[in-house]
Protein backbone atom coordinates (compact mmCIF):
# COMPACT_ATOMS: atom_id res chain seq x y z
CA UNK A 1 0.00 0.00 0.00
CA UNK A 2 1.24 3.47 -0.84
CA UNK A 3 1.76 5.90 2.02
CA UNK A 4 -0.61 8.42 0.46
CA UNK A 5 -3.34 5.74 0.38
CA UNK A 6 -2.70 5.05 4.06
CA UNK A 7 -3.22 8.74 4.84
CA UNK A 8 -6.53 8.62 2.96
CA UNK A 9 -7.62 5.68 5.09
CA UNK A 10 -6.44 7.24 8.37
CA UNK A 11 -8.23 10.56 7.86
CA UNK A 12 -11.55 8.75 7.43
CA UNK A 13 -11.57 8.06 11.18
CA UNK A 14 -10.57 10.30 14.07
CA UNK A 15 -7.31 9.58 15.90
CA UNK A 16 -7.74 7.13 18.75
CA UNK A 17 -8.79 8.49 22.14
CA UNK A 18 -8.50 6.85 25.56
CA UNK A 19 -11.70 5.25 26.87
CA UNK A 20 -11.22 6.83 30.29
CA UNK A 21 -8.67 9.18 31.87
CA UNK A 22 -6.17 7.62 34.28
CA UNK A 23 -7.27 9.90 37.14
CA UNK A 24 -10.93 8.96 36.65
CA UNK A 25 -10.09 5.27 36.59
CA UNK A 26 -7.97 5.64 39.74
CA UNK A 27 -10.80 7.46 41.57
CA UNK A 28 -13.22 4.72 40.57
CA UNK A 29 -10.79 2.02 41.72
CA UNK A 30 -10.17 3.70 45.10
CA UNK A 31 -13.94 3.88 45.62
CA UNK A 32 -14.31 0.25 44.57
CA UNK A 33 -11.57 -0.91 46.96
CA UNK A 34 -13.17 1.16 49.74
CA UNK A 35 -16.61 -0.35 49.12
CA UNK A 36 -15.17 -3.85 48.92
CA UNK A 37 -13.36 -3.27 52.23
CA UNK A 38 -16.48 -1.86 53.90
CA UNK A 39 -18.79 -4.69 52.87
CA UNK A 40 -16.30 -7.56 53.09
CA UNK A 41 -14.04 -6.64 56.02
CA UNK A 42 -15.95 -3.84 57.76
CA UNK A 43 -14.90 -0.34 58.82
CA UNK A 44 -12.46 0.33 61.66
CA UNK A 45 -14.25 0.89 65.02
CA UNK A 46 -13.86 4.71 65.08
CA UNK A 47 -15.30 5.08 61.62
CA UNK A 48 -18.20 2.77 62.56
CA UNK A 49 -18.84 5.18 65.46
CA UNK A 50 -18.73 8.08 62.94
CA UNK A 51 -15.63 9.72 64.46
CA UNK A 52 -12.48 10.53 62.53
CA UNK A 53 -9.27 10.40 64.58
CA UNK A 54 -6.35 12.70 63.65
CA UNK A 55 -4.06 9.69 63.21
CA UNK A 56 -6.46 8.36 60.56
CA UNK A 57 -6.28 11.73 58.79
CA UNK A 58 -2.48 11.46 58.83
CA UNK A 59 -2.64 7.97 57.31
CA UNK A 60 -5.13 9.10 54.67
CA UNK A 61 -2.96 12.09 53.73
CA UNK A 62 0.13 9.88 53.36
CA UNK A 63 -1.65 7.21 51.32
CA UNK A 64 -3.52 9.74 49.14
CA UNK A 65 -0.26 11.52 48.39
CA UNK A 66 1.27 8.20 47.47
CA UNK A 67 -1.60 7.55 45.05
CA UNK A 68 -1.18 10.99 43.45
CA UNK A 69 2.60 10.64 43.16
CA UNK A 70 2.58 7.12 41.75
CA UNK A 71 -0.17 8.00 39.25
CA UNK A 72 1.74 11.06 38.09
CA UNK A 73 4.88 8.95 37.72
CA UNK A 74 2.91 6.35 35.75
CA UNK A 75 1.30 9.00 33.55
CA UNK A 76 4.62 10.66 32.74
CA UNK A 77 6.24 7.30 32.05
CA UNK A 78 3.49 6.09 29.73
CA UNK A 79 3.73 8.89 27.13
CA UNK A 80 6.58 10.00 24.86
CA UNK A 81 8.69 12.72 26.54
CA UNK A 82 6.46 12.70 29.64
CA UNK A 83 7.59 14.89 32.53
CA UNK A 84 7.19 14.14 36.24
CA UNK A 85 5.94 17.49 37.52
CA UNK A 86 5.50 16.70 41.23
CA UNK A 87 9.15 16.50 42.28
CA UNK A 88 8.79 19.15 45.00
CA UNK A 89 5.68 17.53 46.37
CA UNK A 90 7.45 14.14 46.42
CA UNK A 91 10.35 15.62 48.39
CA UNK A 92 7.95 17.36 50.77
CA UNK A 93 6.02 14.13 51.42
CA UNK A 94 9.25 12.18 51.95
CA UNK A 95 10.35 14.76 54.53
CA UNK A 96 6.90 14.80 56.15
CA UNK A 97 6.86 11.02 56.51
CA UNK A 98 10.47 10.95 57.74
CA UNK A 99 9.62 13.54 60.39
CA UNK A 100 6.62 11.45 61.50
CA UNK A 101 8.84 8.35 61.71
CA UNK A 102 11.49 10.17 63.75
CA UNK A 103 8.83 11.58 66.09
CA UNK A 104 7.34 8.12 66.63
CA UNK A 105 10.72 6.48 67.28
CA UNK A 106 11.63 9.22 69.76
CA UNK A 107 8.34 9.23 71.68
CA UNK A 108 7.27 5.57 71.55
CA UNK A 109 9.12 2.55 73.00
CA UNK A 110 10.56 0.29 70.32
CA UNK A 111 8.87 -2.77 71.85
CA UNK A 112 5.51 -1.08 71.48
CA UNK A 113 6.16 -0.31 67.80
CA UNK A 114 7.45 -3.85 67.26
CA UNK A 115 4.38 -5.39 68.89
CA UNK A 116 2.19 -3.90 66.15
CA UNK A 117 3.71 -6.33 63.68
CA UNK A 118 2.66 -9.30 65.79
CA UNK A 119 -1.00 -8.35 65.51
CA UNK A 120 -3.15 -10.12 62.89
CA UNK A 121 -3.71 -6.71 61.27
CA UNK A 122 -0.21 -6.84 59.83
CA UNK A 123 -0.87 -10.06 57.90
CA UNK A 124 -4.29 -8.76 56.85
CA UNK A 125 -2.70 -5.60 55.47
CA UNK A 126 -0.16 -7.56 53.47
CA UNK A 127 -2.71 -10.02 52.10
CA UNK A 128 -5.60 -7.70 51.29
CA UNK A 129 -3.56 -4.79 49.92
CA UNK A 130 -1.68 -7.20 47.65
CA UNK A 131 -4.88 -9.00 46.67
CA UNK A 132 -6.85 -5.85 45.87
CA UNK A 133 -3.77 -4.37 44.24
CA UNK A 134 -3.38 -7.27 41.84
CA UNK A 135 -6.90 -6.73 40.47
CA UNK A 136 -6.36 -2.98 40.36
CA UNK A 137 -3.11 -3.51 38.44
CA UNK A 138 -4.97 -5.44 35.72
CA UNK A 139 -7.44 -2.56 35.25
CA UNK A 140 -4.65 0.01 35.11
CA UNK A 141 -2.60 -2.17 32.77
CA UNK A 142 -5.53 -2.43 30.32
CA UNK A 143 -5.67 1.36 30.17
CA UNK A 144 -1.92 1.90 29.92
CA UNK A 145 -1.68 -0.76 27.20
CA UNK A 146 -3.18 1.82 24.83
CA UNK A 147 -0.67 4.50 25.83
CA UNK A 148 2.80 4.91 24.37
CA UNK A 149 5.47 4.06 26.95
CA UNK A 150 9.12 4.16 25.89
CA UNK A 151 10.49 2.30 28.90
CA UNK A 152 8.34 -0.78 29.26
CA UNK A 153 9.83 -2.08 32.51
CA UNK A 154 9.74 1.28 34.24
CA UNK A 155 6.13 1.81 33.22
CA UNK A 156 5.20 -1.70 34.33
CA UNK A 157 6.85 -1.01 37.69
CA UNK A 158 4.80 2.16 38.11
CA UNK A 159 1.64 0.17 37.34
CA UNK A 160 2.52 -2.03 40.33
CA UNK A 161 3.30 0.95 42.57
CA UNK A 162 0.13 2.85 41.75
CA UNK A 163 -2.06 -0.26 42.05
CA UNK A 164 -0.71 -0.99 45.52
CA UNK A 165 -1.15 2.65 46.55
CA UNK A 166 -4.79 2.66 45.36
CA UNK A 167 -5.63 -0.59 47.12
CA UNK A 168 -3.84 0.59 50.29
CA UNK A 169 -5.94 3.75 50.36
CA UNK A 170 -9.12 1.71 49.90
CA UNK A 171 -8.13 -0.83 52.54
CA UNK A 172 -7.00 1.78 55.10
CA UNK A 173 -10.60 2.37 56.26
CA UNK A 174 -10.53 -1.13 57.79
CA UNK A 175 -7.11 -1.13 59.48
CA UNK A 176 -7.16 0.51 62.95
CA UNK A 177 -3.37 0.98 63.20
CA UNK A 178 -2.06 4.40 62.17
CA UNK A 179 1.56 4.16 63.32
CA UNK A 180 3.92 5.71 60.70
CA UNK A 181 6.30 2.74 60.98
CA UNK A 182 3.41 0.33 60.48
CA UNK A 183 2.19 2.33 57.49
CA UNK A 184 5.63 2.27 55.88
CA UNK A 185 6.15 -1.47 56.40
CA UNK A 186 2.65 -2.93 56.07
CA UNK A 187 1.69 -0.81 53.05
CA UNK A 188 5.23 -0.63 51.67
CA UNK A 189 5.74 -4.37 51.33
CA UNK A 190 2.70 -4.89 49.05
CA UNK A 191 4.05 -1.98 46.98
CA UNK A 192 7.31 -3.83 46.59
CA UNK A 193 5.60 -7.15 45.80
CA UNK A 194 3.34 -5.62 43.13
CA UNK A 195 6.21 -3.55 41.73
CA UNK A 196 8.33 -6.69 41.17
CA UNK A 197 5.39 -8.74 39.86
CA UNK A 198 4.35 -6.00 37.42
CA UNK A 199 7.89 -5.54 36.17
CA UNK A 200 8.07 -9.27 35.47
CA UNK A 201 4.66 -9.71 33.86
CA UNK A 202 3.57 -6.55 32.05
CA UNK A 203 6.53 -5.26 29.95
CA UNK A 204 6.08 -7.77 27.10
CA UNK A 205 2.42 -6.71 26.70
CA UNK A 206 3.16 -2.97 26.69
CA UNK A 207 4.99 -2.98 23.35
CA UNK A 208 3.53 -0.74 20.68
Amino acid sequence: MKTEELINILVRSEPKKPIIALGTLATFLVALCGLLTKFWLGLRPELEAMTIPMSFCFKTVVLSSLVVLTLQALKSSSVPLGRFTLKHFAVFMALFLSAALVYEWVTTPVAQIGSLFLLPNFKSCLVYVTLFGSFVSIAIFLLIKNAAPFHYERTAGFIGFSSAAISALGYSIHCPIDSPTFIVVAYGLPQLILYVASRLVFPRFLRW
Binding site: I7, L81, R83
Partner: protein, 187 residues
Protein backbone atom coordinates in the same frame (compact mmCIF):
# COMPACT_ATOMS: atom_id res chain seq x y z
CA UNK B 1 12.64 23.84 12.03
CA UNK B 2 11.22 27.31 12.60
CA UNK B 3 8.75 28.39 15.27
CA UNK B 4 6.06 29.04 12.62
CA UNK B 5 6.04 25.38 11.54
CA UNK B 6 5.91 24.24 15.16
CA UNK B 7 2.99 26.53 15.92
CA UNK B 8 1.21 25.46 12.73
CA UNK B 9 1.52 21.79 13.69
CA UNK B 10 0.27 22.42 17.23
CA UNK B 11 -2.74 24.27 15.77
CA UNK B 12 -3.41 21.38 13.43
CA UNK B 13 -3.26 18.92 16.35
CA UNK B 14 -5.76 21.05 18.26
CA UNK B 15 -8.12 21.19 15.27
CA UNK B 16 -7.71 17.44 14.73
CA UNK B 17 -8.68 16.80 18.32
CA UNK B 18 -11.82 18.83 17.82
CA UNK B 19 -12.78 16.53 14.93
CA UNK B 20 -11.56 18.50 11.88
CA UNK B 21 -10.64 15.80 9.34
CA UNK B 22 -9.16 18.31 6.88
CA UNK B 23 -6.79 19.54 9.57
CA UNK B 24 -5.93 15.93 10.33
CA UNK B 25 -5.07 15.25 6.67
CA UNK B 26 -2.95 18.41 6.60
CA UNK B 27 -1.22 17.36 9.82
CA UNK B 28 -0.30 13.95 8.42
CA UNK B 29 0.84 15.44 5.12
CA UNK B 30 2.97 18.03 6.94
CA UNK B 31 4.49 15.31 9.12
CA UNK B 32 5.16 12.89 6.25
CA UNK B 33 8.36 14.49 4.83
CA UNK B 34 9.78 14.94 8.34
CA UNK B 35 9.07 11.33 9.24
CA UNK B 36 10.51 10.14 5.93
CA UNK B 37 13.69 12.15 6.45
CA UNK B 38 14.08 10.99 10.04
CA UNK B 39 13.46 7.30 9.21
CA UNK B 40 15.86 7.36 6.26
CA UNK B 41 18.53 9.02 8.37
CA UNK B 42 18.26 6.43 11.16
CA UNK B 43 18.02 3.43 8.83
CA UNK B 44 20.93 4.57 6.65
CA UNK B 45 23.22 4.11 9.67
CA UNK B 46 22.30 0.42 9.71
CA UNK B 47 22.13 -0.19 5.97
CA UNK B 48 18.39 -0.92 6.14
CA UNK B 49 17.04 1.83 3.85
CA UNK B 50 14.93 -0.73 1.98
CA UNK B 51 12.48 -0.77 4.88
CA UNK B 52 12.14 3.01 5.09
CA UNK B 53 8.67 3.31 3.56
CA UNK B 54 7.29 0.50 5.76
CA UNK B 55 8.56 2.33 8.81
CA UNK B 56 7.14 5.63 7.60
CA UNK B 57 3.73 3.94 7.44
CA UNK B 58 4.24 2.38 10.87
CA UNK B 59 5.04 5.83 12.24
CA UNK B 60 1.91 7.33 10.67
CA UNK B 61 -0.16 4.56 12.23
CA UNK B 62 1.51 5.25 15.59
CA UNK B 63 0.57 8.93 15.28
CA UNK B 64 -3.02 7.91 14.55
CA UNK B 65 -3.18 5.63 17.58
CA UNK B 66 -1.11 7.63 20.07
CA UNK B 67 -1.82 11.26 19.21
CA UNK B 68 -3.79 11.67 22.44
CA UNK B 69 -0.58 11.10 24.42
CA UNK B 70 0.82 14.38 23.04
CA UNK B 71 0.54 17.19 25.60
CA UNK B 72 -0.14 20.43 23.71
CA UNK B 73 1.61 22.47 26.44
CA UNK B 74 4.87 21.27 24.90
CA UNK B 75 6.35 21.34 21.39
CA UNK B 76 4.98 18.84 18.86
CA UNK B 77 8.11 18.16 16.81
CA UNK B 78 10.11 16.55 19.65
CA UNK B 79 7.07 14.30 20.30
CA UNK B 80 6.94 13.38 16.59
CA UNK B 81 10.69 12.67 16.50
CA UNK B 82 10.43 10.57 19.67
CA UNK B 83 7.61 8.44 18.22
CA UNK B 84 9.46 7.95 14.92
CA UNK B 85 12.68 7.08 16.71
CA UNK B 86 10.81 4.59 18.88
CA UNK B 87 9.40 2.85 15.81
CA UNK B 88 12.86 2.72 14.20
CA UNK B 89 14.45 1.27 17.35
CA UNK B 90 11.63 -1.24 17.67
CA UNK B 91 12.11 -2.26 14.04
CA UNK B 92 15.88 -2.60 14.43
CA UNK B 93 15.44 -4.67 17.57
CA UNK B 94 13.02 -7.04 15.83
CA UNK B 95 15.18 -7.19 12.73
CA UNK B 96 18.30 -8.04 14.72
CA UNK B 97 16.47 -11.02 16.17
CA UNK B 98 15.58 -12.30 12.72
CA UNK B 99 19.02 -11.79 11.18
CA UNK B 100 21.10 -14.95 10.93
CA UNK B 101 24.78 -14.14 11.39
CA UNK B 102 27.36 -16.88 11.26
CA UNK B 103 30.07 -14.82 9.61
CA UNK B 104 32.12 -13.69 12.60
CA UNK B 105 33.70 -16.92 13.71
CA UNK B 106 33.97 -19.12 10.65
CA UNK B 107 34.09 -16.82 7.70
CA UNK B 108 30.67 -17.83 6.43
CA UNK B 109 28.88 -14.90 4.88
CA UNK B 110 25.17 -14.82 4.27
CA UNK B 111 24.32 -12.34 1.57
CA UNK B 112 21.80 -9.58 2.08
CA UNK B 113 18.85 -11.28 0.39
CA UNK B 114 15.19 -10.60 -0.21
CA UNK B 115 12.50 -11.68 2.27
CA UNK B 116 11.69 -14.82 0.28
CA UNK B 117 15.34 -15.85 0.29
CA UNK B 118 15.50 -15.03 4.01
CA UNK B 119 12.71 -17.49 4.67
CA UNK B 120 14.52 -20.19 2.72
CA UNK B 121 17.78 -19.43 4.54
CA UNK B 122 16.02 -19.61 7.91
CA UNK B 123 14.51 -23.00 6.97
CA UNK B 124 17.89 -24.30 5.77
CA UNK B 125 19.53 -23.09 8.95
CA UNK B 126 16.89 -24.87 11.00
CA UNK B 127 17.60 -28.13 9.14
CA UNK B 128 21.36 -27.73 9.59
CA UNK B 129 21.07 -26.90 13.28
CA UNK B 130 19.02 -30.04 13.86
CA UNK B 131 21.91 -32.07 12.46
CA UNK B 132 24.22 -30.87 15.27
CA UNK B 133 24.60 -32.83 18.49
CA UNK B 134 22.04 -31.53 21.04
CA UNK B 135 21.99 -29.03 22.63
CA UNK B 136 24.50 -27.30 20.29
CA UNK B 137 21.85 -26.42 17.70
CA UNK B 138 19.54 -24.90 20.28
CA UNK B 139 22.38 -22.97 21.93
CA UNK B 140 23.62 -21.56 18.62
CA UNK B 141 20.11 -20.59 17.60
CA UNK B 142 19.46 -18.81 20.90
CA UNK B 143 22.85 -17.08 20.89
CA UNK B 144 23.09 -16.02 17.27
CA UNK B 145 19.47 -15.64 16.20
CA UNK B 146 17.53 -14.74 19.33
CA UNK B 147 20.38 -12.67 20.77
CA UNK B 148 20.65 -14.42 24.16
CA UNK B 149 23.85 -13.86 26.14
CA UNK B 150 26.37 -16.56 27.06
CA UNK B 151 25.56 -16.03 30.75
CA UNK B 152 21.84 -16.58 30.13
CA UNK B 153 22.54 -19.74 28.16
CA UNK B 154 24.89 -21.04 30.84
CA UNK B 155 22.12 -20.58 33.39
CA UNK B 156 19.45 -22.14 31.16
CA UNK B 157 21.49 -25.23 30.24
CA UNK B 158 23.18 -25.46 33.65
CA UNK B 159 26.65 -25.36 32.08
CA UNK B 160 29.71 -23.18 32.63
CA UNK B 161 30.10 -20.15 30.38
CA UNK B 162 33.35 -21.58 28.99
CA UNK B 163 31.56 -24.81 28.05
CA UNK B 164 28.90 -22.82 26.23
CA UNK B 165 31.63 -21.01 24.26
CA UNK B 166 33.29 -24.34 23.38
CA UNK B 167 29.96 -25.84 22.27
CA UNK B 168 29.26 -22.76 20.13
CA UNK B 169 32.73 -22.82 18.59
CA UNK B 170 32.56 -26.54 17.76
CA UNK B 171 28.98 -26.21 16.57
CA UNK B 172 29.84 -23.36 14.23
CA UNK B 173 32.81 -25.28 12.85
CA UNK B 174 30.55 -28.26 12.21
CA UNK B 175 27.93 -25.97 10.68
CA UNK B 176 30.57 -24.52 8.42
CA UNK B 177 31.49 -28.01 7.22
CA UNK B 178 27.83 -28.89 6.69
CA UNK B 179 27.28 -25.71 4.66
CA UNK B 180 30.33 -26.53 2.53
CA UNK B 181 29.04 -30.07 1.93
CA UNK B 182 25.59 -28.79 1.02
CA UNK B 183 27.16 -26.22 -1.28
CA UNK B 184 29.18 -28.91 -3.06
CA UNK B 185 26.10 -31.08 -3.46
CA UNK B 186 23.97 -28.26 -4.85
CA UNK B 187 24.43 -27.95 -8.62
Amino acid sequence: MNIGTEQKLVNLVEKTRSGDSLAYRQLLEECLPMIRQSVRFHLSRFGQQAFAEDLVQESLLAIHQKLYTYDSQYAFLPWLRAVTRHKVIDFLRKNRMKTVSLDEENGIELEDVSSQQDTTAARDLDILLKRLKPPAGEIIYMLKVEGASVAELAKKFKLRENNIKVIVHRGLTKLSELVMEEGLRTP
